[in-house]
Symmetry: C2
Subunit: 389 residues, 2 copies
């Protein structure tokens, strides 16, 4: 018996549009086949969101075929049939004997497919940055007549500008993020274990809002006193205490798309220092958002923030954000002083204003926004305040 195609987050025409952009880039680079191994790029081009990327798998986009071919391990092929927009003959399963096999691995059938489909003497793009060093070497060794071209981030850059359909999905994700930030304000209480609060926050992120559940749980960072100078740790085994500050970073997820959101909480009145940092950062946030419009650069947005807070004697060492969408960070454009990427309508960013000022003191705030035809739309809407418990 066969599995049927499941409900699709996007219509076929959306994937055809994305593939057309990928093929245009392939033509520009004079390659006939593109081997996409970055799992987020695979999601973008097919709709596949299963978590099978810990073993070799790749999507092969050919200039000569409308649909790409997805090659993955046998036990994950039914999920690909269920998730992907393509016809089932575009899903190729490789045998389970290649898993945990020191002699051959899943990249071998991917290379075999390139040979069998007539690409052995062509230009072939691979994503060097998402391939282990040994596997990249295998492509070169087993395809000696091919012209191997590094196409790291070629598809990732295409993802930077979203379609209206993608924006709608990110709005759904942002609504979930907002709900989780508000839920946190209800469950963070002195004497409560951090884990118990996170369980409730995670519950909101999974249940979702407006009848639309979260489709995955993105990593939650909860950094409370004395850990507010850290940014990427999970909750601790401690309880919240009177006077604790809590920095929270989370993101609702819909169909692989995240909408990051950060807020700071204080049990009891915030210290004068925390209040002052918040006020300066909030002014910087406003200035950054005001700088967002088509034609401005990432640098302009970042510098609007940096200049505003510097006037008040504050600095921020980390970048102000990054392209945002599938899989959280899209490693392309950064909101930083030297990134001259020009903003265009429907680019989406996580304006990430976390500021880890000293080892034992930091403050977080962020918004997920999109560039509009004339300015900015902030997708996240939680109050821009220190949540006082």
């Amino acid at each position: 018996m066969t599995i049927s195609r499941g409900p699709q987050a996007f219509p076929r025409s959306e994937y055809v549009r994305r593939l057309a952009m990928a093929k245009s880039e392939m033509a520009r680079r004079d390659i006939d086949a593109l081997v996409v191994s970055d799992q987020h790029n695979i999601t973008y081009l097919t709709g596949y969101t299963a978590h099978s990327g810990y073993v070799p798998q790749a999507l092969v986009v050919s200039m000569h075929e409308e649909e790409p071919t997805f090659i993955l391990r046998r036990c994950d092929a039914p999920a690909a049939v269920h998730h992907c927009f393509m016809e089932r003959d575009k899903i190729i399963a490789y045998p389970e004997s290649l898993i945990g096999n020191p002699e051959k691995d899943g990249y071998d059938p991917i290379i075999d497919f390139l040979k069998d489909s007539g690409h052995a003497n062509c230009g072939i793009g691979i994503e060097l940055y998402s391939l282990p060093a040994q596997s990249a070497e295998k492509f070169r060794r087993r395809l000696p007549e091919a012209r191997i071209v590094d196409c790291t981030k070629a598809v990732t850059w295409i993802r930077l500008i979203k379609s209206d359909l993608e924006i709608e999905v990110m709005r759904e994700a942002a609504a979930i993020s907002d709900a989780a930030i508000l839920r946190a304000a209800e469950v963070i209480r002195p004497g409560v274990r951090e884990a118990d609060a996170v369980a409730e926050i995670a519950g909101t992120l999974i249940r979702g809002v407006n009848g639309k559940p979260g489709t995955k749980l993105a990593t939650i960072s909860l950094c409370s006193s004395p850990r507010t100078g850290t940014c990427h740790i999970n909750w601790s085994e401690d309880v919240f205490r009177a006077g604790s500050q809590i920095n929270l970073e989370l993101g609702g997820t819909r169909h692989g798309y995240c909408a990051g959101l950060m807020r700071t909480y204080s049990i009891g009145a915030p210290s004068a220092r925390l209040r002052r940092v918040h006020e300066i950062q909030a002014a910087g946030l406003e200035a950054a958002l005001e700088a967002v419009r088509p034609g401005a650069t990432c640098s302009d947005v970042a510098n609007a923030f940096y200049r505003t807070i510097e006037k008040q004697g504050l600095e921020k060492e980390t970048r102000c954000g990054y392209a945002h969408g599938i899989g959280w960070i899209e490693p392309t454009a950064s909101l930083k002083g030297d990134d001259m990427t020009e903003l265009k309508p429907n680019m989406t960013f996580h304006l990430m204003l976390g500021n880890w000022i000293e080892e034992d003191f930091g403050y977080v705030s962020s918004e997920t926004f999109r560039v509009t035809d004339s300015g900015v739309e902030v997708l996240t809407t939680a109050p821009r305040k220190i949540f006082e418990i």
Copy 2:
């Protein structure tokens, strides 16, 4: 102000023991420095569990120093001071300007450190499999006088045999897994959205049991009718229905250590086919566990399972399991027919008997076990049955 070292999951002596094993392996391979970039190996050697591994970071183990040196981005350094067993001068922060920088990245200061600490002309081990191809090339280019040795999985293999302290942490994780499997039996009901059930299951995994919270949420796979032939998808947007079968894979986590557990649920009486598969698989599970003892091989355990189910006319294509601990799969020993790894006391495995028989029909069951001095201890204890709702 500085951040203090946080509560440690293991005493210093445990890390010194692990490092001694790593250095013994380094001596065997005649290298002076080992660059550990695999995030799970970093957890193993230091206690660090923050989720910063999406940008370059590495632990450098030197034959000439008792403690290793951890080089990571500036904003993550406080978390390293808080998590790691080492003295704070062993934490080196690289500047934030290297993030999202197309010219240089975090591997540059790691290479600088190797040069500055006198390793430019030495044997240097790197983990090729966890390094992007371009970064491995950078090590070779910037260290032309060094003898670069591929040490992929050198530390990973050391992790295979746990200490009694690690086993105790895995017991805690297993108790959380058991509780989550039982919670699932309470919340899976016809008409309930899959997401709402998963929110409750995730809540149990985070809250933990016996006063010990989960310290991270490992990926949950919930594959219900008509998706029981898939293995690695998240919950869907659907509701459970009368007659639905639900395959659940989850794992409690303590201090980075997972204990995987899979069970199958049926809303209403299981079909005759499902019952028969369960009975055969349960017999295979017993046979596999009976084969576990020091001196037996991974192959012996897998073949005990395969031969038992084959006698009843069933086959399983995927391997029967894998070394298990930090970060779920430890990519070393596999419970498969041709893996001749000899079992030794305190090796831990996820005996993973998921069997995806047809595209639209699969069954799951698993246990996390350790090898004892004379046989086996199963760490997970949830009833070995089809949970009938």
